[in-house]
Every structure is written in C-alpha cells, then in structure tokens.
Amino acid sequence: MPDREMTGNMFFFAKSEQTATAAQKVPAQVLIVERITAGDAEAFGELYRMFAAMIHGIILARVPRDEVDDIVQEVFLSAYKNLHTLREKAAVGAWLAMIARNCAAEFYRRERPTEELSETLREKENPQAEAREILKTIRSLPDTYRETLVLRLVEGMTGAEIAEQTGLTPESVRVNLHRGMKLLREKLGIKE
C-alpha cells in the first residue's frame, strides 16, 4: 500500500475516532431536548428532574417561599412552550435559569398587595425562625451571590454542579461562593 494511501487511511481512522469521541461527549441535555422536540413527553419529565432543584433555588433566592413551587411549574411550562426558540441545546440549563429569573421578576410585576402577618403568628407558623432569618439575609445579598449561595446551601449542590447547570464558569461560581459567604458571615455576625 502506498504511503500516501496509508496516511489517508490513518487520517480517516483518526477522524472517525474524533467523531465518535465527540458524539460521546454530547451532553445528555441535548438528547433530552431533541426528544422533547420530537414529542416525547417522558423526556420532559427527565428534564424536569434534572433542573428542578436549580430552578427552585434560583426562584427561592428571589420570591417568597410559598410562591416558589408554583413558579417552578410555570417556568417549566413556559420552557416547554418556547423550546423551539432554543438555539443552543447544550445551554438548556442557562436558558432555563434565565426563564426562572424572568418569571421571578414577572411575579413582582403582577404581585398584589398582601397583609403582613404579625411576628407572633409567624413564629407559630414557622418554627424554623433561624432558617428564615438566614434566608432573608441571603436574599439581601447581591443577585450573583444570593443565587449561588442558595443553590449551594439550600439545594445542596456542589460548585461544579452549579456551574454545569447554570452555565456559569466554575471560576465565577467559586468567586461568587467565596465572596457571597464572606458577606453572609459579616451580615450574620459570624467570625471566621
């Protein structure tokens, strides 16, 4: 076999190997999105289970706890209706996070005036007063920090998982966690 032909074959095998590797690296998210687009309702359930915690955390960082579950459902329904507008299927997590932030903002736009419960009644209904205080303090932090901190401390996700699901870089998540935790400690009066 001539050298040239051999080289060509080697190149072909190398290329096919690369293609196979790339195919393996295609995230499961892309496949799920493709299945949903094709009309697979079960795939939508998988997408929900994959990202529900992240969406819950993002919304919890912004709106009252009682409203969170409804808004989570609203986010996924909105995503399902607008899935055809998603161009980068691999970035479905970041896209869902964006929808969640928009829905949280929409909640405050359409919010109706409500009466505040008295402190005594609150204490009775919510025995985790300390937890509420901590959450309230986290919500008072800047957007980038509170979202990452809720995902880490409330939803129990690791930094890598947060980065993977929200589409942020791991470095950004690390910085947000570090600075956010520092601010939270200061506000809660915790000494390092």
């Binding site: 309702a41 939508f44 359930g45 929900y48 289970r49 529900a52 915690a53 819950h56 955390g57 919890l60 706890r65 579950d69 989570v72 459902q73 996924f76 329904l77 399902y80 209706k81 055809h84 985790q128 300390e130 937890a131 901590i134 959450l135 880490r152 401390l153 409330v154 939803e155 129990g156 690791t158 930094g159 890598a160 690390r174 966690l177 570090h178 935790m181 520092k182 939270l184 400690r185 915790i190 390092e192």
Partner: protein, 197 residues
C-alpha cells in the same frame, strides 16, 4: 473558612454545615412535573415594524416609478408626429392622413427623431393634417436708426473695419444719389414728351 467544603463538600466546616442544616427545610422536595398541555400553540412574535415600513415604502416607490415610466414611454411616441409635421409645414397639404414611414422625406429634424430608439413604436406613423401657411408678401420697412455711438475703446482692427465700412457707405450713398438723379431726369423727359404728345 475551609474553601474545599464550600466548593465540593470535602473536608469540614462546622459553620457551613450548620447553615446547611438550618436551610434544609427550604430544600426542593421532588414533585411531579407539570401536566403538559395537549397541544402547544406557538404564537409567533410580531416581526419588527421597521421591516414592513421599509417594505411599504419600497413598494410605493416602485409603483410610482412604474407609473411614471409607463406614462413617459406612452407619451414619447405621441410627440413624434407633431415634430414631423413641423418639418413639413412648407409642403403642400397632404390628402393622405396616413403615410408610411419610408415616404416621409428625409428632412434633418425628422432624421434626428428617427434615430432615437423607440419602444413600441408602430411602423405606420400618423401625421396630423396640416394646412400650408399662407405666404404673405414681405414688407420691408426702413426704420430711421440713429448711428450707434462708437465705443470709446476700439482696437486697431475694429477702427480699420469701421473706417472701411463708413467709406463704403459713403460711396454707396453717392452712387445711389447719382442713380436717383438719372431716374428723375429720365422720368422728367418722358413726362415732357407725354405732355408734348
């Protein structure tokens, strides 16, 4: 603060663990995914108005341009017979209202018009019936004209030409005077002879 625990939960950090434990109550409890609608109606967003505005403006401009050029092309051949008739005003009245293009004498203005590229021009050219203008005798009326003042500044050539012209005029005037005298003398003689007869 142990950053490792904050990042990937490795190691220990009592304070963060305490916060996690406290906030555990708010953690997401797995729920069923929402019921999907039977059919999703995709409402397409309205396209930007600018596109339509530009489209309408362009269509309006194209329509106006089309009408203008259509009128121009239709009007251009209609002007041709009028110009041809002007060239034939000195010819006798033609009885034929319609003549072929080849029979038109090749007058200069017509040739110019014929050389113009024409679209949709019929081969038979209709010419309006024209009446030859009546030729009236020319009446020459001499007007008394005052000699124009010579411009103060004349070049040498102009001065020479002026002198020559004045000389010619004076010679011509004297010659005419002689002719007039002779005519008067002849007429006087004939008148005398007539009276004598």
């Amino acid at each position: 603060m142990k950053e490792d625990y904050l990042w990937d939960k490795t190691g220990e950090d009592a304070e963060i663990e305490r916060l996690e434990k406290a906030l555990m109550a708010f953690r997401y409890a797995e729920t069923a995914p929402p019921e999907l609608p039977g059919k999703v109606f995709v409402v397409e967003k309205e396209k930007p108005r600018k596109f339509w505005q530009f489209g309408f403006a362009f269509a309006a401009f194209a329509t106006v341009a089309l009408i203008f050029f259509t009128v121009w092309f239709l009007a251009a051949p209609a002007q041709l017979p009028v110009l041809e008739s002007v060239a034939e005003t000195n010819q006798p009245e033609s009885t034929d209202r319609t003549i072929k293009k080849e029979s038109v004498p090749p007058a200069t203005p017509v040739q110019i018009i014929e050389n113009r590229p024409r679209l949709n021009t019929p081969k038979v050219v209709k010419i309006r019936s024209t009446v030859a203008p009546k030729i009236r005798p020319i009446k020459l009326v001499a007007r008394k004209t005052e000699p124009k003042e010579i411009p103060e500044t004349l070049t040498a050539e102009e001065q020479y030409a002026y002198d020559q012209l004045m000389l010619a005029l004076s010679i011509t005037g004297s010659k005419l005077k002689i002719v007039k005298d002779k005519i008067d003398a002849i007429e006087g003689k004939t008148a005398v002879l007539d009276t004598a007869r």
